[in-house]
């Protein structure tokens, strides 16, 4: 397998309702990614596109629809889709395009325009439940998260006010992100605990916002990357894994799908002790407890202990292992597929020392990004290093 580097990245602001169409959001991100490494469309040999269920953008076959803005014209072009895991699967798809030797330079674009679903995108999620055996109960998407969060916090005896620290830290981190929708430099745990209860134990500020946005990165084979940049960021490991589609047939307390995906990625990257060898973590955080859940799946904390990383400062931007220095989905926003790829872009900028206000100190060498999706059953993991 050939070595693969990220050499460029671009993104739009994440906003609640964008004027731009999905094509135009994709175009903005793709164009910025090209400009960031001074390439043109002629240099792109293939394109990988990611977007979550068609219901959000409201375009059947959204991959084909958005292809012109997503740099798909005249290229081998393909959309990949693993629900919320898409944004981190996308670069994996791009990785095997390049690692295999098929292509030297590949564009990766992820886009979501959730505001098209009107009046509220949450209602689209009723369709992810089994149409015959579950939808008749009229489930809200929040059910599944609230059920998992309750199982997780009750099993380990974790307090809500400690879980709220995750939301606080991510939203504060996001205050330094120029694309963030919910950067809140002064938010407190009390604010989270006082926010509206949606589906106990889930409150409004435990949840990431519905958003519109797009992100793009460019991958290159080693010989090309070294020619184009003095600061390539290597994709050192990739992993993806699926658990049972019957979500009520497994214990919601622990994300095994993340564990197996992480182990696959760590093996490939030669990582034996992730807690020492990973300097920055970008776990998927659509809900605050979810970041904790995923940190445990990523083997960066013992089961039920991830919250201690927030309590003792390890997860802070200047801690020993900063978590979501970007601001995460809770702070930057959650345009589903784009949100996952945002984490990859963040690692790219952090590892190059280009994250500006958000820069993690100490010249970090290695990071991990993870996303999760489908019916709570898929884990996608990418390890990046310089």
């Amino acid at each position: 397998m050939r070595k693969v580097a990220v050499i460029g990245a671009g993104m739009t602001k994440f906003v609640r309702r964008a004027l731009e169409t999905p094509k135009e959001l994709s175009w903005h991100a793709a164009k910025m990614a090209l400009d960031s490494c001074e390439l043109t469309m002629d240099d792109i040999e293939a394109t990988c596109f990611g977007t979550a269920p068609d219901a959000f953008d409201g375009v059947h076959m959204n991959g084909e629809y958005a292809s012109d803005g997503a740099a798909g014209w005249g290229k081998p072009y393909m959309r990949s889709y693993v629900g919320g895991g898409t944004g981190v699967f996308n670069p994996i798809q791009g990785w095997y395009h390049v690692a295999s030797g098929m292509f030297d330079v590949v564009m990766i674009v992820a886009e979501e325009k959730m505001s098209s679903f009107y009046p509220h995108a949450q209602a689209a999620f009723v369709t992810i439940f089994d149409h015959t055996t579950e939808r008749a109960l009229k489930p809200n998407l929040l059910w599944i998260f609230a059920l998992e969060m309750n199982r997780y916090m009750t099993t380990y005896g974790i307090k809500k006010e400690d879980i709220a620290r995750v939301s606080v830290q991510h939203k504060r981190n996001a205050a330094g992100h120029p694309c963030a929708l919910l950067g809140e430099p002064n938010i407190t745990v009390e604010d989270v605990l006082n926010s509206e209860t949606l589906a106990w134990p889930v409150q409004r500020f435990d949840v990431s916002p519905v958003s519109d946005g797009a992100v793009a990165i460019i991958l290159a084979a080693e010989h090309v990357a070294k020619r184009l940049t003095s600061k390539p960021v290597w994709i050192e490991g990739v992993g993806w894994y699926l658990d049972s589609a019957y979500w009520t047939n497994r214990d919601l307390v622990y994300p095994r799908y993340v564990e197996y995906a992480a182990k696959m990625a760590y093996d490939m990257a030669g990582i034996k002790e992730p807690r020492k060898e990973i300097h920055i973590a970008e776990p998927y955080d659509p809900f605050d407890y979810k970041a904790l859940h995923h940190l445990e799946g990523l083997q960066l904390a013992d089961r039920g202990k991830a919250v201690e990383l927030y309590i003792n400062g390890t997860a802070a931007r200047d801690g020993n292992m900063p978590v979501c220095p970007s601001g995460g989905l809770l702070g930057v926003g959650n345009p589903i597929a784009a949100a996952g790829l945002m984490k990859i872009a963040e690692l790219f900028w952090q590892l190059r020392g280009e994250a500006g206000e958000r820069q993690v100190p100490g010249q970090p060498k290695r990071g991990v990004a993870q996303a999760w999706g489908d019916l709570m059953q898929v884990g996608t993991v990418v390890v990046m290093g310089r």
């Binding site: 964008a18 175009w27 164009k31 803005g69 014209w73 098209s116 009107y118 939808r135």
Partner: protein, 153 residues
């Protein structure tokens, strides 16, 4: 190896739908294109100086090089009939009482699919077709601000 069998009392099907309702914004290019159609009665194209392609309807960017398209031009209301069809069924497959004429009218390097108002026997590929707009007061900023295309007399 035996397989589980179907329960003879099982209902054959479970009925339902996908309740997807959308509000689509027109976007950067759509705002300009449809406001020009609504307010000025113009069909706008956008030219890419690098590729020499004129996109109609106008777009925000060139799909070939991803450069921003800033040179917008009025391409007029008369295009060329690229192809047409006479439709005898509706989208559920039911017969139409009156068959419907639909055509693709090319402008620049693009064009518009729309209804045609003509005697089908007189239509020829390549003939000039003109957009018939709704009166200005009735236009809302929609592709239906064009009522139909008709042959240029």
């Amino acid at each position: 190896m035996t397989l589980l069998e179907r329960d003879p009392q099982a209902p054959a099907a479970w009925r339902g739908n996908l309740p997807v309702t959308s509000r689509y914004t027109y976007g950067i290019a759509g705002e300009k294109f449809f406001r020009a159609l609504k307010d000025e009665g113009k069909i706008m194209g956008a030219e890419c100086p690098t590729c020499g392609i004129t996109y109609v309807p106008a777009r925000a960017f060139c799909e070939r090089g991803l450069s921003e398209l800033t040179e917008w031009t009025d391409v007029g209301l008369v295009g060329e009939l690229h192809t047409f069809t006479l439709v005898f069924v509706d989208y559920d497959g039911r017969p139409l009482y009156e068959p419907e004429l639909v055509g693709f009218v090319s402008f620049g390097d693009g064009g518009i699919v729309h209804k045609l108002e003509a005697d089908p026997d007189t239509l020829e590929i390549g003939m000039k077709m003109e957009a018939v707009l709704k009166p200005k007061t009735k236009r809302t900023g929609s592709i239906l601000d064009i009522q139909h295309f008709k042959p240029v007399k």
